[in-house]
């Protein structure tokens, strides 16, 4: 009975990730195509998708390899591009409280933007759920399998089609994130968080190593939280109680 519930939660996580996969397919193909165009071997390309498994940083890394950047620069950039995952971990952590390392290690390894977005939604909708880790694993493995397949397709297609990178396939990632973010903006403080993040990201876009992304993210979180606290205080004063 119990294992049946876990299996259902696992499959549910995978199913809820399907829309994310639609958005990730073009991006994965684009990565594979870019990797071959900068001269990465098939094994190196697959190793990156299998062991790093972080779309946007793989993308940036392939671009930097194409520009002849050194190992240290690429590793540093990878670190900063992926730094946002620490925020995701902090946000998901409470839902995985008390889990053994045998669970936390794979859940940490497989954490992506898409899985985070799907799982945090689930956690917020059913805060008392006991099997969020199964849900997260289902989502993770669906994303992981898709990413490997798309890397292979992209690598192969990249060899066949000359300028696949000019098609604007990265728009798929943007539209996925729009689909995630817009429905989350139900309150004014959320709108403030999004607005401040956008403005700061645009202003700080030329910072080295994509650091602007982190600065903008933290600014957005702080502004949203500040707006929420401010609204509460005003409300408190208005009701006079």
């Amino acid at each position: 009975m119990k294992s049946l519930l876990k299996r259902r939660e696992f499959l549910h996580g995978a199913r809820d990730t399907v829309p994310m996969i639609v958005g990730a397919i073009p991006f994965g193909i684009l990565f594979g195509a870019l990797a071959t165009s900068v001269g990465l071997s098939f094994y190196a390309t697959m190793a990156m998708s299998l062991f790093v498994f972080a779309g946007s940083s793989q993308f940036v890394a392939a671009t930097l390899i194409g520009q002849g950047a050194g190992v240290a620069v690429i590793v540093m950039t990878t670190f900063f591009v992926n730094l946002r995952h620490a925020l995701y971990s902090a946000s998901l952590g409470p839902a995985f409280k008390g889990l053994k390392q045998t669970w936390l290690l794979p859940l940490g390894f497989f954490l992506t933007d898409e899985t985070y977005a799907v799982v945090i939604k689930r956690v917020n909708e059913s805060p008392d759920g006991k099997d969020h880790h199964w849900y997260c694993l289902g989502s993770s493995l669906a994303m992981y399998a898709n990413w490997q397949i798309c890397t292979v397709i992209g690598f192969t297609a990249g060899n066949a089609l000359e300028d696949l990178s000019g098609w604007g396939l990265e728009f798929a990632m943007i539209v996925t994130f729009i689909g995630i973010v817009v429905p989350l903006i139900t309150r004014f403080p959320m709108l403030i968080a999004a607005g401040v993040a956008v403005i700061v990201a645009l202003l700080s876009r030329n910072m080295a190593h994509n650091l602007g992304l982190i600065v903008a993210s933290v600014a957005g979180v702080a502004a949203g939280y500040g707006a929420e606290v401010y609204a509460e205080r005003k409300n408190y004063e208005a009701t006079g109680s």
Binding site: P19, V22, L40, A44, A47, M48, F51, S57, Q58, I65, V71, I74, V75, N82, A86, L87, Y88, S89, A90, S91, G93, P94, F96, K97, G98, L99, L104, L105, L111, D113, Y116, I120, E170, F171, I174, V175, T176, I178, G179, I180, V181, V182, L184, I185, M190, A193, A194, A197, V198, V200, A201, R205, L213, A216, S217, V218, G220, V221, G224, Y225
Partner: protein, 106 residues
């Protein structure tokens, strides 16, 4: 060989960002104010990630109808806002983007 060293180091830093916080936060109870602030994480991070990709093209500001990224993004935002449906938003946004590209407009 150098490539595989690079990939190994990329794996180390990526995992090093994803896992430790997950392990630490799971062990301690976070203060309520931190938990509340963290609720703004998805909106802030994903907005910050997308905005420059949409509005900056080839290193320049591009706020015009010929920027397919911008036109299709505005369309996708409207669809997402009205429908609150993720898959519909993705498919509609991609369709508009493809149409703009194919028609040579964007």
């Amino acid at each position: 060989m150098k490539t595989f060293l690079l990939i190994f180091l990329m794996m180390v830093v990526t995992f090093g960002v994803r896992y430790p916080v997950l392990a630490l936060v799971g062990r301690y109870e976070l203060p309520g104010s931190v938990k509340r602030a963290l609720r703004f994480v998805p909106v802030a991070v994903l907005s910050a990630l997308c905005a420059p990709m949409v509005l900056i093209q080839q290193g320049q500001w591009d706020i015009s109808f010929s920027n397919a990224y911008l036109v299709a993004s505005v369309f996708a935002i409207l669809v997402a806002w009205r429908s609150r449906h993720l898959l519909l938003t993705i498919v509609a946004g991609l369709l508009v983007f493809a149409l703009l590209k194919v028609s040579g407009f964007g």
